[in-house]
């Protein structure tokens, strides 16, 4: 096969430009496309590490009792798994990879507003990730869970400060990316691209960027306070010094709930691009999708208390937070209705990106509806801190954001790398990933309803069949992921050359060559039509 590989056409951004060659040419490049690909490489590596840690946990949970590790190792394991997956994979995820690569192209710009700041954000991301990895070495890795709850995070003898510092640096990187995107959307749109002619992926990035900018500083200062407590004994969150651990939870979730929307909004945006293309149909309810993105960003800011229904809050606060949680389900459901309505009477082409997209919708609905069970005050008392919660957020974060990422990487792969992946292998990998996912996480709902608490390395015998099925699912899922990554890596090296518009899309990125030239467009772009004007 390799002998038949043809070289990419000249003139793309892959060609060496500037004064440095090879890897240095990448590390010093302020081209948004190169930065997007550098994020992709880092995130892929961290994702595989996170998957490996998750796989080891499932291996431990295959049978009751201690198999391969003690409880403390397991605590460290789920903490690192959480830190890597949340802060280094899903929060940057779609917005750093596809946002960087496609936001400027889709709005007809040459680059983001602040290209050097963009490269700086990537270096901060790398620095934060390095610190997070270092927290595992020299002494014990942190064992607090990714939430760093006080007062345990204050007293734990493990490397909590290092991990918290890592989260702070990663947050700073996220803020700067968000800032860059807001200014880009405001100032860099092509001539004729009014706000309501902007494609929906940039819209979702715009809504996300505001959450990144407005919510992240709160967790930033909270994490600094945790570090100060550990080093200086200030006692903000330590009850023995008069502090208040509930206050920590509030400050933490004021960011960390909106963070869920930082993850899911760009995922929704990507899916909203894929569906019209693969149905060859104008997106249904364009304005409703835009407004629901903004509504999710706005209301999502006000629901953090639902993480704390059992922590101690006044009844009125609990009711208000529960009510707002139900309200935020409405714009999410509007999106689902719009996606389905877009498919109606479309000429649907079922290829790998579309398969991931429909499984995204399926899993996102399960994740969203079970979220309402958790948002209701009475049922939450029953299932709080059980596997039901674990299943719920994995359905949202992995089944939602993760699957949308897989859909997006297959959808935009020809544009990013200029080559096609193997469709048949891609479909097989999807089938394995989807079955593995369902087998892994669905039993957790049942385990949770029957009372299995989360974050335990051992369990009672009555939970063993559920855990066994779940662990088998984990191994199936890992096989599927390996197959998918293999398919993509192979395609990037030796795949067939991709045409400029393999899926017959209408947005601007399909009007430039694959891969795009260095400054995206040869001439200034002028937009006259709506982004989804299919016949």
């Amino acid at each position: 096969m390799t002998s038949k590989t043809t070289a990419l056409p000249p003139g793309s951004f892959f060609d060496q430009q500037g004064k440095y060659k090879g890897i240095l040419g990448w590390l010093t490049s302020t081209d948004h496309k190169r930065i997007g690909i550098m994020y992709l490489m880092c995130i892929l590596v961290f994702f595989l590490v996170g998957v490996t840690l998750g796989g080891i946990m499932k291996l431990e949970l295959l049978r009751p009792g201690a198999q391969y590790m003690d409880a403390q190792t397991y605590n460290g394991m789920f903490t690192v798994h959480g830190i890597i997956m949340i802060f280094m994979v899903v929060i940057p995820g779609l917005s750093a990879v596809f946002g960087n690569f496609f936001l400027p192209i889709m709005i007809g710009a040459k680059d983001v507003a602040f290209p050097r700041l963009n490269l700086f954000s990537w270096y901060l991301f790398l620095l934060g990730s390095t610190i997070a990895v270092l927290s595992q070495f020299g002494g014990n890795g942190p064992d607090t869970g990714w939430t760093f709850y006080a007062p345990y995070a204050i007293n734990s003898k493990t490397n909590v400060s290092t991990a918290v510092l890592a989260a702070f640096v990663l947050g700073f990187s996220s803020i700067l990316t968000g800032l860059n995107f807001i200014v880009t959307v405001h100032r860099m749109r092509a001539k004729g691209m009014t706000w309501f002619k902007m494609p929906l992926f940039p819209w979702s990035l715009y809504a996300t960027a505001w959450i990144q900018v407005l919510a992240t500083p709160i967790v930033g200062i909270t994490l600094l306070m945790v570090i100060a407590e550990r080093t200086l004994r200030i006692g903000f969150f330590d009850p023995s010094l008069g502090g208040d651990p509930i206050l920590y939870q509030h400050l933490f979730w004021i960011y960390s709930h909106p963070a869920v929307y930082i993850m899911i909004l760009p995922a929704m945006g990507a899916v909203t691009e894929i569906i019209p293309t693969f149905c060859q149909r104008k997106v249904f309810g364009y304005q409703a999708i835009v407004l629901s993105s903004l509504a999710i960003a706005g209301v999502g800011y006000l629901v953090w208390g639902h993480h704390m229904f059992t922590s101690g809050m006044s009844d009125f606060s609990r009711m208000a937070f529960s009510f707002l949680t139900f309200i935020v389900a409405i714009p999410s459901a509007i999106k689902v209705f719009n996606w389905i309505a877009t498919m109606y009477k479309g000429s649907i082409l079922i290829k790998t990106p579309f398969l991931y997209t429909i499984s995204f919708i399926f899993q996102f609905m399960i994740g969203g509806l079970t979220g309402l069970t958790l948002g209701a005050l009475a049922t939450d008392i029953h299932v709080h801190d059980t596997y039901y919660v674990v299943a719920h957020f994995h359905y949202i974060v992995f089944g939602g954001m993760g699957f949308a990422f897989f859909a997006a990487i297959h959808y935009w792969f020809p544009k990013m790398f200029g080559r096609m992946y193997d469709e048949k292998l891609g479909t097989v990998a999807w089938a394995i990933v989807f079955s593995g996912f369902t087998l892994l996480y669905f039993p957790m709902f049942i385990l949770g309803l029957r009372g299995m608490p989360r974050r335990y390395f051992d369990y009672l015998p009555e939970y063993s069949s559920g855990h066994f099925i779940s662990s088998i699912g984990a191994f199936v899922l890992i096989i599927g992921i390996i197959l998918m990554v293999y398919n993509l890596v192979k395609a990037a090296r030796t795949g067939e050359l991709a045409p400029a518009n393999p899926w017959n899309g209408r947005t601007l990125e399909w009007k430039v060559a694959s891969p795009p030239p260095l400054e995206n467009f040869d001439h200034d772009v002028e937009v006259t039509e709506h982004p989804y004007d299919y016949e």
Binding site: L117, M188, I218, G220, L232, G242, L251
Partner: protein, 205 residues
């Protein structure tokens, strides 16, 4: 705002640059907003202890520092006008004054903190740990808030130093002064936060 898009190839967008700076300032306000929230919670909870502990702070030095920052905000604003009117030397003088005032602020802060530490009034000291919960919290907040603010003063001084070099090299001139304006915006933010810190920590007794 007139269109600054020149016909040359170089891309420059002053409005975008200013927008970016304002958004960054929002994030800084929210960063301190988290601290103000914590302050509000503990002030409500330990009203009397805060009242007693605040007497330990030196209102005179605090007031002098407030005055220094207010004047420095004025001088940096004046330097922007000076650049707009092509008075390069005067602008440099005004920026040097701003820088100097910021430095004096830090010197005062050094002596203020030094005295507190000399009296064993710092977070985690044996003396502080014997105090009431509210007093522990007050001194914790005092050092944390003024410490974080001092870091921002240093960042601001770095920015002022940077724009001074740029003014000197004529990179900042009457036709291109957005970097100076952004540095000014940042410095006003540093000033503004102190305007809130001063009454909250020193004056409400």
């Amino acid at each position: 705002m007139e269109q600054n898009h020149s016909t040359t190839h170089e891309h420059r967008d002053d409005t975008g640059s200013k927008l970016g700076m304002w958004i960054f300032i929002f994030t800084e306000l929210l960063l301190f907003g988290g601290l103000f929230l914590v302050y509000a919670v503990f002030r409500a909870k330990y009203f009397e202890d805060f009242h007693i502990a605040a007497h330990q702070l030196n209102v005179f030095i605090g007031a002098v520092n407030t005055l220094l920052l207010l004047i420095s905000s004025m001088t940096i604003a004046m330097s922007i006008t000076a650049i707009q009117k092509n008075h390069k030397k005067f602008a440099l003088l005004l920026l040097s004054i701003t820088f100097f005032l910021a430095f004096i602020f830090l010197v005062n802060k050094y002596f203020e903190w030094g005295l507190k530490i000399h009296h064993h009034l710092y977070p985690g000291s044996d003396l502080v740990l014997t105090l009431t919960h509210g007093e522990i919290m007050f001194f914790g907040l005092y050092f944390f808030m003024t410490g974080l603010h001092a870091i921002h003063i240093i960042v601001g001084m770095t920015l002022i130093g940077y724009v001074m070099v740029q003014v000197k090299n004529d990179r900042i001139n009457s036709g291109n002064f957005q970097h100076l304006e952004n540095a000014g915006l940042y410095w006003h933010l540093v000033d503004l936060i102190w305007i809130f810190l001063f009454p909250l920590l020193y004056l409400i007794t």
